[in-house]
Symmetry: C2
């Protein structure tokens, strides 16, 4: 499994860090902390593609920034999910599973026609989900943590356990897949 982790300020993260800590020692997990690996935005595309090829499941974990992935993860989409590799002749990711793990600063009720974010959260999902699907990946039910700045430690621990259990189950299944 490849876990692509994109938090611009890992030290200031609470929710993302807690979630990452809940899973990072799982066997078979290759954590790719993009902001540590590429502080100058100079992605090693070949290394990232190798990590994906070796994985049966791809996790994208990040805080939501401007209703999308942080800029560095968007660069990763643009450069790593390249024509000839992920689509347009290449099918390197086809049949793999994709799990989106995202934290938001806003409360759930901020997402809605009358909330400050103007849309239900689900209406911000299509670009991310369709990116995975266009590459032939199976889109799994995402893990979404709202109100990341003040969700309780208990709630965060519970979500971390659920995250760990899901990855462990995917790893157990993974070997059985082509």
């Amino acid at each position: 499994m490849a876990l692509v982790y994109a938090h611009p300020y890992p030290d200031r993260s609470r929710a993302n860090r807690a979630l990452l800590e809940a899973v990072r020692d799982l066997p078979g997990l290759d954590v790719r902390p993009l902001f540590d690996l590429y502080p100058d935005y100079d992605l090693d595309v070949a290394a990232e593609q190798r990590a994906l090829v070796a994985a049966h499941t791809v996790v994208w974990q990040h805080p939501l920034h401007w209703y999308s992935v942080p800029g560095l993860l968007k660069l990763w989409f643009d450069q790593v999910l390249a024509r000839g590799f992920a689509y347009g002749g290449g099918r390197a990711l086809a049949g793999k599973r994709c799990l989106w793990v995202v934290t938001t600063g806003g409360e759930l009720d901020a997402y809605g026609p009358s909330g400050m974010h103007g849309h239900p959260f689900a209406e911000f999902e299509p670009p991310i989900r369709q990116t995975a699907r266009f590459c032939g990946m199976e889109w799994l039910e995402p893990i979404v943590v709202h109100g990341a700045h003040h969700v309780s430690d208990t709630e965060l621990a519970r979500t971390g356990e659920r995250y760990r259990a899901r990855l462990a189950a995917l790893e157990a299944e993974g070997g059985a897949r082509p």
Copy 2:
């Protein structure tokens, strides 16, 4: 007016270049070609913010990459539309207008439940539109060019004229606004 232009390979662009050429000599237009200005992704946030403050209209022009803005423009969102400047205490962009000018590789009929992109094009718009609205900007009707690789020169010229007329009208109105 500030025109934030984000094409990763300006030399390989046909549609975006034609659209840019159609407007770039308009009086009052400050073109910010992000990939020329920041080839190393090292944004001058203060300069970008000054350009926005001076503008009554902000244009985001780019090809659609993975159903969103190119990575460098996403970085620009993350860094330039900063807390304290664009929201969260700052309201530097409130009342300005925002025009999205976007080209896609896919045909219109590729956007739909049965098309290769799985969704009507409009379902990829919320993250971009809401970014503008969260900053208090007025979202104008976007200019969308589908099938950018093989739209005819005539059609492209017509869209360029329409683009130019809209910016000229916005500039004429602009002085009348606070």
